[in-house]
């Protein structure tokens, strides 16, 4: 049941368009529970640029089969994920190795991809086009051919960037896509109304107990950060929480050497980690080559988590309850598994009761923004 008062903070995509329209002093009004926008996002993008970015984001002609777009795996109707897939499917139903992270609030992320191999939304947008298991292009030329020749695109690029023909490059393409993505901002969940909005009954008793556990015995908040005035539910850092790597731990030494010997560039890493599940499990090691990053992945936000199952970087846990049980076990899904040698500090058995686990799950269900509440939940 969505309660009427939740409609009040319904400041979704639409209002941001208004707030950032040219000539309008950027109001920097963000939804309840979110921090001010990072500096690079405050330079107002024109509605035309955002609209162009949205069109590019949804363009299927930028894939080898002309059937896959960014929106295929980042579907607005699924909180910008491809739930319920465990790992994303690209052209010809080719499977990658990782669960599609949401685009919502990506404006606040310090790095992109589960292993942080990309520093910005602009850079990130370059890679899926040319990854063989995603959109499968050999290079970016087919995209440029379309945006330079197609009358609608040519007009839009001219209007937004003042560029036409060969002057339109991937820099402009990704600039527009990133501008669109930066408008996908969402807060105002029941948790926000309760915690930042002072609405005492926005959470159920179980959710309130869950919040207490979240910041205390559950130890969740140390990575899924809640601050005094806002909550992104991520520390933007990387941790080995014992997912994925536990299944291949005997092979880590061999895999690591095999991978590192190749001295792969980040563009090659992009292809290798999405093509080979075992290499994927090396996590951020593939990016930094540091011991501390073996099997580590970025802390995902928990906003809208109830509508983006399954979970973890590999989509290996079906429900939020499974996730809490994994952490309650101290970083192993099956209690009998050997705890990974490289497990991050902070992950340890929690000794939560079944009722406490239920409360934590209830709390996470309070993090859904009104615009992403699924019909079944209304």
């Amino acid at each position: 049941m969505i309660k009427p008062r939740w409609m009040a903070p319904l400041i979704g995509v639409q209002l941001l368009f208004i707030a950032t329209a040219p000539g309008v002093e950027a109001a920097q009004k963000v939804p309840l529970g979110l921090p001010p926008l990072p500096e690079r996002a405050t330079q107002a993008a024109s509605p035309e640029k955002v609209a162009l970015g949205k069109k590019l984001f949804e363009e299927t002609r930028f894939s080898a089969t002309r059937q896959v777009s960014c929106a295929t795996c980042h579907d607005a109707g699924k909180a910008f994920t491809d739930s319920p897939l465990s790992v994303s499917e690209g052209i010809r139903q080719l499977k990658g190795t990782r669960n599609a992270p949401t685009v919502i609030n990506a404006v606040y992320f310090e790095t992109m991809f589960w292993d942080g191999r990309s520093p910005s939304l602009e850079d990130q947008a370059l890679h899926p086009f040319v990854n063989p298991v995603e959109m499968g292009l050999k290079d970016h030329d087919p995209i440029l051919a379309i945006v330079r020749k197609d009358a609608d695109y040519a007009r839009a690029f001219d209007q937004v960037f003042g560029k036409r023909g060969p002057a339109v490059t991937m820099a402009e393409v990704t600039d527009a896509i990133a501008a669109f993505e930066r408008t996908i901002i969402s807060g105002g969940s029941p948790f926000d109304c309760y915690y930042f909005g002072g609405e005492e009954d926005a959470l159920t008793p179980a959710q309130k107990r869950g919040l207490k556990l979240f910041v205390n015995e559950g130890r969740c908040v140390s990575c899924h950060v809640i601050e005094q005035t806002q909550a992104l539910f991520t520390d933007n850092r990387f941790h080995n929480v014992g997912v994925g790597i536990t299944a291949i731990q005997q092979d880590v030494p061999a895999l690591a050497v095999e991978f590192l010997k190749t001295r792969a560039t980040l563009a090659e890493v992009d292809i290798q980690v999405l093509s080979d599940k075992r290499t994927s499990e090396l996590g951020r090691l593939a990016v930094t080559r540091l011991f501390d990053d073996i099997g580590s992945f970025k802390t995902p936000t928990l906003r809208n988590i109830a509508v983006t199952a399954p979970y973890m970087h590999d989509g290996s846990l079906k429900t939020l309850r499974d996730v809490v049980v994994h952490y309650n076990n101290g970083g192993v899904t099956n209690e009998k598994d050997r705890v990974n040698d490289f497990l991050s500090g902070g992950i340890r058995p929690l000794h939560l009761t079944e009722a406490q686990i239920d409360d934590l799950v209830a709390f996470m269900e309070s993090l859904t923004s009104p615009e992403y509440v699924q019909p079944a939940q209304l």
Binding site: P253, V257, I294
Partner: protein, 358 residues
């Protein structure tokens, strides 16, 4: 995991024999100068403080630290020539703790040497430790460097032999910090005589690397960051132009230069200590040269713990601190200033707030 009873022969068999470990080009830094035969690497792991709870249960946090350091050291490439374990394998010196720790160390695919720590020693005066790891002090030569391992955590005989009703109480008294019943560490006359004789056989041009558990310096008495006869030991090392002392016990980054001797501490795998200067009431003599490690985030129990990878080049040490949830650091001897310096943070203008905000 229950197989924590193993004898010394097992340990030596498992730890000492280099098995067919693959090569891992992970964090190895090769210096670009120096003759090839003068260059080699080793790893240093220290202060695991394995703590027995009951039955087969041990404190998980300390276990995780040692397990992780061992697993990571096994990934080093080129393969390090050996691993030094710097003491305090156990918390209260029991057979259970030493066996459990030895079992974890036995997973190392490298030749392993050990230093005695006070937590290994004061229950049975090192008797069981010796069965696992051999003599309390010794020396060896490796690729032109003379390595010495001292037992620097001895103290006055009266304290050790005559004061305590039980061995366990003796252990607990020595394990305490700021304990008025404690006693300062020392190498002692017998061992200094051994060292004098040992060094007499070594050419003065030979680089010396000395491992101890306590600093062979007097830094802070309350926590035994201290060796009572430090000056006498330093005097024995004085004739050698290239001397490095590597010590554990302090659970934090320290480095110093005293005359010809370069000092480096190593991290613990168990937990970090604060710096004595954050303990304002008491006098201390912490090396001004040391740029402190970052203040730890207590949630990440591995933060401010770690282990070391050491690159030896013409007898000098480059200490590569592998730190968790934190930024790794490199402290290396600078021939121009003739002292160890942090490669990034030495210049005061380069330092960051977590290094001195307590």
């Amino acid at each position: 995991m229950n197989d924590f009873r193993l004898n010394r022969r097992d340990f030596i068999k498992r730890a000492g024999v280099a098995t067919a470990a693959a090569a891992f080009p992970l964090s190895v830094v090769e210096l670009a100068f120096g003759a090839a035969q003068d260059k080699f690497t080793f790893a240093h792991i220290s202060d695991a403080h394995i703590q027995h709870v009951k039955g087969t249960e041990f404190v998980r946090n300390w276990d995780r630290g040692l397990i992780r350091a061992v697993a990571e050291a096994n990934l080093l490439t080129p393969k390090p020539d050996f691993v030094m374990f710097g003491g305090d394998l156990a918390q209260l010196g029991t057979k259970e703790e030493l066996d459990h720790g030895a079992e974890m160390l036995s997973r190392l695919r490298h030749k392993t040497y050990c230093v005695m720590g006070e937590h290994d020693y004061y229950l049975d005066l090192g008797e069981y430790w010796s069965k696992l790891f051999g003599p309390h002090y010794y020396s060896f030569d490796h690729k032109g460097v003379h390595f010495v391992v001292l037992n620097s955590i001895l103290t006055y005989d009266e304290w050790t032999y005559n004061r305590w009703p039980t061995a366990r109480q003796r252990m607990l008294e020595m394990a305490g910090l700021d304990n008025p019943n404690g006693s300062p560490f020392m190498v002692g006359e017998k061992q200094r005589e051994w060292l004098r004789a040992d060094l007499a056989r070594v050419a003065k041009t030979t680089p010396i690397v000395l491992f101890s558990h306590s600093p062979i310096q007097k830094l802070y008495k309350g926590w035994n960051f201290w060796t009572e006869d430090a000056e006498q030991v330093q005097a024995l090392l004085k004739p050698f132009p290239t001397v490095t002392v590597i010590y554990g016990h302090v659970h934090q980054i320290q480095y110093n230069q005293v005359g010809n001797i370069t000092f480096h501490s190593v991290m613990a795998t168990a937990w970090p200590w604060p710096y004595p200067q954050s303990y304002a009431q008491a006098e201390h003599a912490m090396p001004k040269l040391t740029v402190p490690m970052n203040r730890a985030d207590p949630f990440f129990e591995r933060d401010a713990t770690g282990w070391q990878f050491i690159d030896m080049d013409t007898g000098r040490v480059m200490m590569d601190y592998n730190l968790y949830n934190n930024t790794s650091r490199v402290v290396a001897y600078n021939p121009a200033t003739r002292q160890p310096e942090d490669r990034v943070y030495q210049d005061p203008s380069k330092r960051i707030p977590p290094q001195d905000h307590y």
